[in-house]
Symmetry: C2
Subunit: 313 residues, 2 copies
């Protein structure tokens, strides 16, 4: 799996950073999911050579414009391009109205199935599950209801084909059933259990995305033992008061979540535009200072940039 | 006045062209108006160094996403930047719902007065007027109700200060009244008419914007004797059938409007993405062919590009 950061700025686009969106791409299929969809996400996807036909799911964290205003345009472009592949949107209560009210006035044509899914009640629980992944949401602590997501890739197994052959399993449907972990009965009456014919390749991986939020226990719980935590860090520690007031995180808040949850890698994103403009009202802000602060608190930290890629092996 | 083309592509953004938006900037004040506001217009404004505080008016031609999906984000950013200056939106019926429904869900904060104005009934008539400009709209011929705009800058006059002095007009309030074209009465009983104390500098200018539309008589009427006509040309003449079917214009349709209306300068925009991608389904499309076609039909034609500037003297 690979992460590609399409927008790493907070609130408004700058010349260096677009507003929020992160891609999770599956390298076996080339398909991908999006976490949030700020204005201009479809432009960023095009710059990064992603096809909209490969988009499977969009998870919207909350209803602030910098996380959602790119959705109507992207859905509309999928229709204009004649794409047939279904897409599913997962979002807080209101996601259906948001899409439908936009479509009432700007009646864009859909050439594909559009699934619109609310989060589980109270925002906690399983949002999506298939045989490879389970996605959970948790309510964070922001000025509007905002949700974090954990994506757990389930452990992967390799089918022991030679072992099956040696046990006299004939190639064909029985092979397939065994591969899926089912029990089978051979002609000679022997019963074989699929579990004995697979070997674990890995224990799975866990990715967590928390944006926007102040420090909160739900983030820590959601991020427990994650391989990668993507966490917002709108402000540096010097602007802690601003972070608290706006229910955003400082670098310190995000590092605290990473430490308490015992994550392996922290990626900070959603930086206030002030850290790109350097000087504002006489104060000097730099992204370098933000990075130093993060490294001191949680050494395994990366600062996201637009189009940065990170592979989750 | 200066035109700056922010987005010159049709339907979907490409790597070369954003979706539609055109700036009309007034050089005496630095303030500007927008015609249409496709997704990413605020990004383009930033790239072209425009401040959102100087934005005065937005005219929306019709409710297709490539002309309007940039509006919520741009209005939201104005609030996040703490801008105090009023902005007025003019659009077809539904413009109020479009903004309000988006705000119901994504409740962005307004720090400024937001005027939302419907076009006159049946879409024909005066949309806006002040002492310098008059803006009119006309119903075009598209798959949804779409409107063209004419912007007439009224004739400009220079105050003949020396003449007023020689006639014994005392400096002060009477000077001001005369300057505004009013009649005044001097102490000695003489009456002076303001009209005799001004000299015409120019006859005004007329700019017309028609997008999206097939060829129609209303466009010709609206564009009559315009100094500059901005007209959509989604397709080349080879794709006339496609143009007719989708109620868009070919280069030929746009040139016909320019010829029949007797305009001085035609600027074509809103080109289908196929002319940037060159090859699609085995057919070669190029912008150069489009330009040659236009020049042959109406020599005073320019092909718009993103960030192209054109001064209306």
């Amino acid at each position: 799996m690979k992460l590609i950061f399409l927008g790493t700025g907070a609130a408004v686009p700058t010349l260096k950073r677009n507003v929020t969106s992160v891609v999770l791409r599956f390298e076996d299929t080339g398909r991908y999911w999006l976490f949030d969809c700020g204005e201009g996400t479809q432009h960023q996807l095009k710059k990064a050579s992603f096809r909209l036909s490969k988009l499977e799911k969009v998870f919207i964290s909350h209803f602030h414009g910098d996380h959602v205003f790119g959705l109507p345009g992207m859905l509309s472009t999928r229709g204009l391009e004649g794409i047939k592949e279904r897409v599913d949107i997962y979002g807080p209560k209101g996601i259906k109205s948001f899409i439908e009210e936009n479509r009432k006035i700007v009646n864009f044509h859909l050439t594909y199935e559009l699934g619109i899914n609310n989060f589980p009640k109270k925002g906690m629980g399983v949002v999506y599950e298939d045989n490879k992944f389970i996605v959970r949401s948790a309510l964070l602590n922001h000025s509007v209801s905002a949700y974090g997501f954990s994506v757990k890739r389930k452990p992967r197994y390799r089918f022991l084909m030679e072992k099956a052959r040696k046990c006299g399993v004939p190639e064909g449907p029985l092979f397939g059933e065994l591969k899926e972990g089912k029990s089978i009965k051979l002609k000679d009456g022997r019963r074989l259990n699929g579990r004995d014919f697979v070997e674990k390749v890995d224990d799975g991986k866990k990715l967590v995305y928390c944006s926007d939020t102040a420090y909160c226990e739900n983030s820590v719980e959601l991020a427990k033992n994650a391989d990668v935590l993507i966490h917002e860090a709108t402000f540096s520690g010097k602007e802690q008061e601003l972070a608290d007031k706006s229910l955003h995180s400082s670098v310190g808040d995000a590092c605290r979540v990473a430490t308490e949850a015992g994550v392996s890698r922290l990626i900070l994103t959603h930086f206030s535009p002030r850290y790109d403009t350097k000087i504002r009202d006489g104060t000097v802000y730099t992204m370098e200072n933000m990075a130093d602060e993060a490294k001191a608190l949680f050494p395994e930290t990366l600062m996201a940039k637009d189009f940065m890629e990170y592979e989750i092996k």
